[in-house]
Structures are given as structure tokens and as C-alpha cells.
Amino acid sequence: MKSLAELQAIKDKMKSKVVLREGSEEIRVVVGMATCGIAAGARPVLNAFVEAVNESGLAEKVTVSQTGCIGICQYEPVVEIMEAGKEKVTYVKMTPEKAKEVVEQHLKNGNVVSKYTISNNKD
């Protein structure tokens, strides 16, 4: 180890691996992962969220986790985004592509992607 820059490089590389354990409460992305969700393809959605959040450098303020059945099985995969002081946003019928869009638009720029929310997708 000859310089602080080298140390910083290791730190940056590792940060995303341990940041999960600090449990940031700023923004929580919760993916419904009960049998209905999994059957509808929630696993790739969850993985897409984790990947996109890390790629866009949001890992320190966004926690991606899973939950059981949210109760609206016909809309699965369902993703809820909770942010302190803001109303909960529920996205429905998600796909990995939509997930990437939500990370880019909603989590990064703060614009809710309303075309995917539950209020605009009622049958």
C-alpha cells in the first residue's frame, strides 16, 4: 500500500458489498415475493432492481428488499417504493426492463413513472 488512492480504490470497490448491512432508511424498494409474485416473475425484477441500483451508485441510500404477498395477486410482480415523508408508490406488473426505467426515473431523478403505477393500471 503506497498511497491513499490505492486504499480508496479498495474501499470504493467493496463499499457496495457491505453497504447492505448499514440498512439505509432513506428509500426502500420492496418486491412482493410470495408464490404468486415468483410465479409472475418477481425474481428477475428483484435482481434487476439490485443491479440497477448498484450501477447507478444509489446503493447507499436505497435498500432493496423483498416481502411476502401484498394481496393483489393479479397485479404481480408488485413493487412498492417507500420514501420518508412521501406517499408510497406501488408499481404493478413489473418486468426487468420496467425496473431499470423506474430506477433511472424515480429513484435517481425523483420522477414517479406513473404509467406503471397501480392507479393507472386498474383492470
Partner: protein
């Protein structure tokens, strides 16, 4: 991409309750569920709540599973990791509040045990993988060393530590900054930094946990100390009874060498430092600083008179700084976050936090770290969860064989160095043994004296002979053969040993006796005058008897008595069909088996 991490405690406590098997079960089940790419398994150091081990934490939720068995693992993997449903029955939920919300997803930080803690020394224990230097670096590891070597002069480092108010955590409470400042100006071809990891107090295990859970923090701190005082070599003296700690520390040293964080020209600053482990064979006296250095030199671990102090003539007669593991663990944080930050915690003369090893009659046995000045009541009732089985708190023993005890009447004492010294107790290394009404204080003092008699190195007479005489007097008292005069003699001898012993071991050995004499004299008097042990511990003063009117004559006691001391009488109590039993006091060995077997509470001891 990893989306969840499963942290499994690999500290000594959880390892002995089977965390290895759990780790294997997780690996197997995660593989089977096809989650290997998404879920990472991490073995960490001690979480602190050893009573509820083996402990497993799942992140990002921070769900805290306690007392996990290998059979539970399949369920956790299939339910929680796969489907996102927390396995409720295994979650530890004690938040200390009256209302228990069964559905609330209680995370680790909300529990009563963790809520009031402030983890500085233990910040990485149970959070990082101790065998992976990269994880330590991710948690700001070695940044303090980088800052010290590139931005600070040795004088500035010492000033920072002095300003922080950090005092030695090994028990004595000597200001760390002053210790370094005393050593720094002494010129010598070779100086040394020594870490005292010879944790010998019965019941204390915080140093072990730090070495097991965060070994790099000690390496970093010792290197900083080396730079501050101008030493290029360091030794960690650790007990051979701590195999996991030794193994992880060696791995950490090897990794640090590989990264060039130990060795020549660290951070291109021209500063060299290297570190070696020395194993102790478990002699209590080797925790005393001069005896420890004598032992590192390869000699029999005996203390030597001071002065000269180690700062002038220590290891191999060279200037040496010796600090305890917990003291070192504070150093990197002080450098990074500043002396003011550290000094903002704690009381006027005791800054920062202290780790305590809670043991004895308490629900949450384990490790807790709290700011100095927290009351004993908070430690025991809130964090420790109180005394089990509805018993009453009697006293807390601190400082092990060198310490005293805090009686129930002083439970609101704010715990810091000076307050404890003022009531004739001492902080010690942080063992805190809680005692309830079933503990006899004379017996407790006798227990610690037995320990010091065994561990006295024999070099000086007051300690070698004095402690033995003390023990004999205590034995006499617990056998009911003592007199009131003995109590005065006991006290006199205590003071004599304290004043005349060579090292800390002898100087503090009488403390358990003095403290119990001070706060529980009436218990000594009961042993001497009434020939009774109020707590019902001292066997020679007990008699077991059967209440013939409560006894229904089932005969269970007689069948279980190992010496055949119980026999049938011809007395049949009113309303009973069978004759009652009686105990022959001549034959009785007072083992108590009859009493614990009797379902009708007909047997009592006095």
C-alpha cells in the same frame, strides 16, 4: 448481483453452540434453492447477545434470528430468502416496550439489548467478515493510519489521543495519551508497542471478541501507536486459550503484510512497522504489564518492580508502550472522527464508551458497549433484561478477582472509573457478574481468593503467603468456625497485602474481601455468630429438613438420596395416607437433590 446477505456469528460463544453446522446448512440450502448468485453468506465476529446464540442476521432487512438450529435453516432459506416471508417464530423481538406488536418486523437496532448501546469498539463485530481485509477497508479501515502517516506528526497524534481523554481499558484507567507522551521522547535503537490480549479475568471476554470480530482494528491502532512513539516493532500477547482469536489475528496480519499495511515504508511515508503474535500459557499474572513483557522475552512470567516504568525500560529493556485490546480498538475512530467527538461521550473524567461482559444471574448474557456514565440499573434492567426467575438483584461484581462489588443500594451509580473507585470497587477490564439473593457474598469472596491463590506467581511474600492465609480465614468462616475477631484480622491482613505486594495482582487481590466486608458485613456476622448462611450456599452451615405435615410420603427423595440419609417415619399427617420421611443430619451431604426433586415443597434448607 448480491441482494441479500446472511451473517452468521462465528465468535467463540456461537461456535460452541453450533454455528459451524448452521453455516454449512445455509450453504447447502442456498445452493439447493438456486440463490447462490443472489445471497451471500458471511461469517462474522461476535454480535454480543451470546445468551441467544447461535445468532443469524439477514440483511438488508436486519432481521435478527436467535437460537437457530440446523433444522431451521431450510425454512429460513425457503421462506425468507426465497419468498420474502420472515420466519417469525425465530425472530428475537424483545424491544423492552410493554406493547408487543406481533406483526412488526423488528430489526436488530430496535431491540432493547441493542437500542441503548453505542458501539465504537465493537462497531465492526458482527458486521464484517474478520478474515477479509477488504471488508474492513470498506468500513473506513486503515483510513486513520493513512491520515496519520500522510498528514500528522507524531506529536499531533499524541495530542489528539490526549485531548480525547481516552483512558486505559485494561482496568487501571491510566490516560493513554500521557502513556504515549512519556515514551515518545525516550531515545533508543529499538522501541516496542505491545498489545495486552492476555484477558484473564473470569467472565470477561471483550478483548477476545474484538480480536475475533475486528482484528484489523488492533493492527491499525498498534501501527499508529508505533508511529506516535517511534517504535517499529509490535507484539500482541494473546492467550493460547483463544484459538479462534489467534487464528484470525494471524490471518489479518498476513493480509496486512500482503497489502503493505505492515512492513517497510507504509503509505510511502518512510515509516516501517511490523507485528508478531506471542502466545501466553494462561497465567493470570501475565496480564500484569511487566510480567507480560518478561514472558514475551521468554522468561518465567514474573513481575518486576516499577520504576523504571515500561515507557523507559520495558520489553528487552527498551522503551515500550503497552495497551489493552479495547484501548487500541478506540484509536482509529478517535483519529478519524476527532478528539472532540470522543470526548463528547461519557462523563467528565471518563470519556468514550466501555464494553462490559454481562454474566451471572442475568437474562441477556453477552457483550454490551455503553457510554461511560450509564447507570448500573440501565445496564442490568434495560440492556441485560433483568434477573431471571423473578429473583431480586443483590450485587454486581466488577473487575473480577481484582475488583469489588456494587450492592443493590447503589444500583443508580453512574458507571465510570472514578465513581467505581469512590465506592471501593474498580472498573477492571469490564467483567460484570450479576448476583441475586441466592448468592452468598462470603462464598463469592472465597471463590475469587481461591483464584488468586492459584494464580499468585510466588515472587513476593505478601501475595504468596498473604492470600493463602486470607483464603484459610474465609474457609474457616464458611465452615462456621470463625469468630468476630477473625473479621478484624481479615480486614487488617487485606490492607497489609494491598500495601506490600509487588504488582497489581497482589495489590488488588484482597479487593473482593474488602468490598464484601464493607457492604455485606452482616452476612459475615451471620456466618460467624449465628452460624448460618443467609443465602443457603455454604454447605457446612446448612441443614436440610422435611416438614412432616407437608410430606405426603411418596418416597421420591429417599430413592434419589445418594447416601441413603432419608428414611420413613411412623408419623402419618392428618389427611395423608402414607407416613412422612425424615433426613438423618449425620449422613446428609447437603447435595440438595431431595429438595429439587420434591414436588410438594416439603423440604427446606436453613
Amino acid at each position: 448481483m448480491i441482494r441479500a446477505q446472511v451473517l452468521i456469528c462465528g465468535g467463540t460463544g456461537c461456535t460452541s453452540s453450533g454455528s459451524k453446522a448452521i453455516q454449512e446448512a445455509f450453504a447447502e440450502n442456498i445452493e439447493k434453492a438456486g440463490l447462490s448468485e443472489e445471497v451471500k453468506l458471511v461469517q462474522t465476529g461476535c454480535f454480543g447477545l451470546c445468551a441467544l446464540g447461535p445468532v443469524v442476521i439477514v440483511y438488508p432487512d436486519g432481521t435478527f434470528y436467535s437460537r437457530v438450529t440446523p433444522d431451521d435453516v431450510k425454512e429460513i432459506v425457503e421462506e425468507h430468502l426465497l419468498k420474502g416471508r420472515v420466519v417469525d417464530r425465530l425472530v428475537y423481538k424483545d424491544t423492552g416496550s410493554e406493547v408487543v406488536d406481533e406483526n412488526a418486523n423488528v430489526s436488530l437496532n430496535d431491540t432493547a439489548f441493542y437500542k441503548t448501546q453505542n458501539r465504537v469498539v465493537l462497531r465492526n463485530c458482527g458486521v464484517i467478515d474478520p478474515e477479509n481485509i477488504d471488508e474492513y477497508i470498506a468500513m473506513d479501515g486503515y483510513s486513520a493510519l493513512g491520515k496519520v502517516l500522510t498528514e500528522m506528526t507524531p506529536e499531533e497524534v499524541i495530542q489528539c489521543i490526549t485531548d480525547s481523554g481516552l483512558r486505559g481499558r485494561g482496568g487501571g484507567g491510566f490516560p493513554t495519551g500521557r502513556k504515549w507522551a512519556l515514551c515518545a521522547p525516550n531515545k533508543a535503537p529499538q522501541k516496542y508497542v505491545v498489545c495486552n490480549a492476555d484477558e484473564g479475568d473470569p467472565g470477561a471476554f471483550m478483548d477476545r471478541s474484538v480480536l475475533e470480530g475486528d482484528p484489523h482494528s488492533i493492527i491499525e491502532a498498534m501501527t499508529i501507536a508505533g508511529y506516535a512513539i517511534g517504535a517499529t516493532k509490535g507484539y500482541v500477547y494473546v492467550r493460547a486459550e483463544y484459538p479462534i482469536a489467534v487464528k484470525r489475528l494471524q490471518i489479518a496480519i498476513d493480509q496486512a503484510r500482503e497489502y503493505g499495511l505492515l512492513g517497510k515504508n507504509i503509505f510511502d511515508s518512510g515509516f516501517d512497522f511490523d507485528l508478531y503474535i506471542r502466545l501466553g500459557a494462561g497465567a493470570f499474572v501475565c496480564g500484569e504489564e511487566t510480567a507480560l513483557m518478561t514472558s514475551i522475552e521468554g522468561n518465567r512470567g514474573e513481575p518486576r518492580p516499577r520504576p523504571p516504568y515500561p515507557a523507559v525500560k520495558g520489553l528487552y529493556n527498551s522503551p515500550t508502550v503497552e495497551n489493552n485490546v479495547e484501548t487500541f480498538a478506540n484509536i482509529p475512530q478517535i483519529i478519524l472522527r476527532g478528539a472532540e467527538w470522543f470526548a463528547s461521550m461519557g462523563t467528565e473524567r471518563s470519556k468514550g464508551t466501555k464494553v462490559f461482559a454481562l454474566g451471572g444471574k442475568i437474562k441477556h448474557t453477552g457483550l454490551v458497549e455503553i457510554p461511560m456514565g450509564t447507570t448500573l440499573r440501565q445496564i442490568i434492567e434495560e440492556i441485560g433484561g433483568g434477573i431471571p426467575n423473578g429473583k431480586k438483584f443483590k450485587a454486581a461484581q466488577t473487575g473480577g478477582p481484582s475488583g469489588g462489588c456494587i450492592p443493590a443500594s447503589l444500583i443508580d451509580t453512574e458507571v465510570d472509573y472514578d465513581n467505581l473507585t469512590a465506592i471501593g470497587c474498580m472498573m477492571g477490564s469490564g467483567g460484570l457478574i450479576v448476583m441475586d439473593e441466592d448468592n452468598c457474598m462470603v462464598d463469592m469472596a472465597k471463590f475469587f481468593l481461591e483464584f488468586t491463590v492459584d494464580e499468585s506467581c510466588g515472587k513476593c511474600t505478601p501475595c504468596r503467603v498473604g492470600t493463602r492465609r486470607l483464603l484459610e480465614m474465609l474457609e474457616k468462616i464458611t465452615q462456621g468456625k470463625g469468630t468476630l475477631e477473625d473479621l478484624d484480622k481479615l480486614e487488617e491482613l487485606c490492607y497489609y497485602i494491598k500495601q506490600n505486594s509487588l504488582c497489581g495482582l497482589g495489590q488488588t487481590a484482597p479487593n473482593p474481601v474488602l468490598a464484601t466486608l464493607k457492604f455485606f458485613r452482616e452476612e459475615y456476622v451471620a456466618h460467624v455468630v449465628d452460624k448460618k448462611c443467609p443465602a443457603g450456599v455454604c454447605k457446612d452451615l446448612l441443614t436440610f429438613s422435611i416438614n412432616k405435615d407437608t410430606c405426603i410420603g411418596c418416597g421420591l427423595c429417599a430413592r434419589n438420596c445418594p447416601v441413603g440419609a432419608i428414611s420413613k417415619t411412623d408419623y402419618i399427617a392428618e389427611g395423608h395416607k402414607l407416613p412422612s420421611y425424615e433426613i438423618d443430619p449425620e449422613k446428609c451431604i447437603k447435595c440438595g437433590v431431595c429438595m429439587s426433586n420434591c414436588k410438594f415443597k416439603a423440604i427446606s434448607k436453613q
